[in-house]
Amino acid sequence: MSSSETTPILEARNLIKVLGGNRVLDSVSLNIGRGRVKVLIGPSGAGKSTLLQCLNFLMPPDSGHILLEGREVDGANKKELCALRQQVGMIFQDFNLFDHLSALENVRVALIKVKGMSKLDATERAIAELKRVGLADRATNYPANLSGGQKQRVAIARALAMDPKVMLLDEPTSALDPELIGEVLAVIRDLAQGGMTMIMATHQISFSASLADEFIFMEKGRLVEQGSPAELLGKGSSSRTQAFCSKISELTGDSDGECRL
């Protein structure tokens, strides 16, 4: 095996983040290899979102190291930062589409401004990405005229257009009406099956169990448990993960067996 295949695409070492006197991240280390899917679960306030945002310095960690393909990224260096962020796609809970731009322009703008592509090439690429998420016919719609599920799919197309090496998804379906969750999950499933490397925070336990290589259970800023979904949720498992998702299932009224694999 060559070294480029064994080197993790993205690695975090001993990340610490203190917010308002709380250790939101308490020495968190994590790495992800090419084509892997890792899913972060845990109660709200556990630090999942903070961890994801520290990985691309949207929220600079107080201390710790981030390595992209084995090379440490200097968060104080603007050039390195922009280069890192181009290679690390991010999907937000509340989509964060640019409200004054059409779906097509949303996908295109960073290609032109950041990658320096010509308008023509960028448009072509943007249309291809919109097609990939099933929204080619909505290219001229503005966010105000898109449903939540469509907005999130445009946001995914926008991130994919940058050719990221890894995608960070921060509860991509949490702000959606229940009937719109499916279309976004379908796109995420396609991505995973296409070999995209992903770290996703989510409460969609049974969905993510079907595509995750690893579950990571977070609590109070720490990675408490890590393992394959089968290990953590399997029959007879007494893991914290198992306990947490039973609680979710109870609350949402799902059947008891929902979390068992």
Binding site: L58, C82, D94, N96, F98, D99, H100
Partner: protein
């Protein structure tokens, strides 16, 4: 017995006021542009500037919003020439002095509308832009400003309307714009009611045209989610 109003309007008042109108436009248009430019810059600096720059921009706004415009006009026209920079001092002609006064004052108010517009844009969009690899400046220029500007436009337009009316203050530093010309005609003819009522109509027309232009601009920039609420 004096001539009838129609004759007075045709022979004296209208030609005089039209000349004044031209001067008014020469004062108003650059002032509005200068005000918008200063307002945009100061507004952005007040929201995104580093601390010292932010404080400086805030100081500018409180100074120019906090003192009467007449005082500012007097300062630039009558006081500035006495300030010596070594051997040099700056003497402004009446029209440039008026444009500078109005531009600086208008900019202070405009920056307030721009600031409001900037703050109304959700922070998440900046984070999304940064996450795509944009620099903070690119995010502000390409994502935040175009939206903030649309949100600020009604307020900024309002300020331009104000500017049209306070441009009449230029007459006190001998600029023969609408009001200056009207005062002279009134003094010479003693037909104060007719002169000043007609003057009012001229301003009304000017404001109506400006309002119409602003509406055109608003419509041209309108996209779903930013449109004028339907009555």
């Amino acid at each position: 017995m004096s001539t009838p109003y129609s004759e007075f309007l045709r022979a004296d008042l209208a030609p005089g006021l039209l000349e004044g109108l031209w001067v008014s436009i020469i004062v108003i248009a650059p002032s509005a542009l200068l005000g918008a430019l200063i307002g945009l810059t100061a507004g952005v600096l007040r929201v995104y500037g580093p601390w010292p720059v932010r404080k400086l921009a805030e100081g500018y706004v409180s100074l120019f919003r906090g003192t009467p415009l007449v005082v500012q006009v007097f300062f630039w026209y009558f006081a500035l020439p006495y300030i010596k920079f070594g051997e040099w001092s700056l003497v402004l002609d009446p029209i440039p002095a008026a444009i500078l006064s109005f531009g600086l004052c208008s900019g202070a108010y405009q920056s307030e509308y721009i600031r409001g517009g900037l703050n109304s844009i959700k922070r998440g969009q900046i984070r999304a832009a940064l996450a795509l690899g944009m620099t903070t400046r690119q995010a502000v220029v390409n994502v935040v400003l175009p939206q903030a500007f649309r949100r600020a436009l009604p307020g900024c337009g309002n300020e331009v309307i104000y500017l049209i009316k306070y441009s009449s203050l230029a007459s006190i530093i001998t600029v023969n714009e609408l009001t200056g010309t009207a005062t002279t005609i009134a003094k010479n003819s003693w037909r104060n009611i007719e002169v000043f009522c007609t003057l009012g109509v001229f301003y009304l027309l000017l404001v109506t045209v400006a309002g119409w232009l602003l509406r055109l601009l608003e419509n041209a920039l309108s996209v779903p989610g930013f449109e004028r609420p339907k009555a």
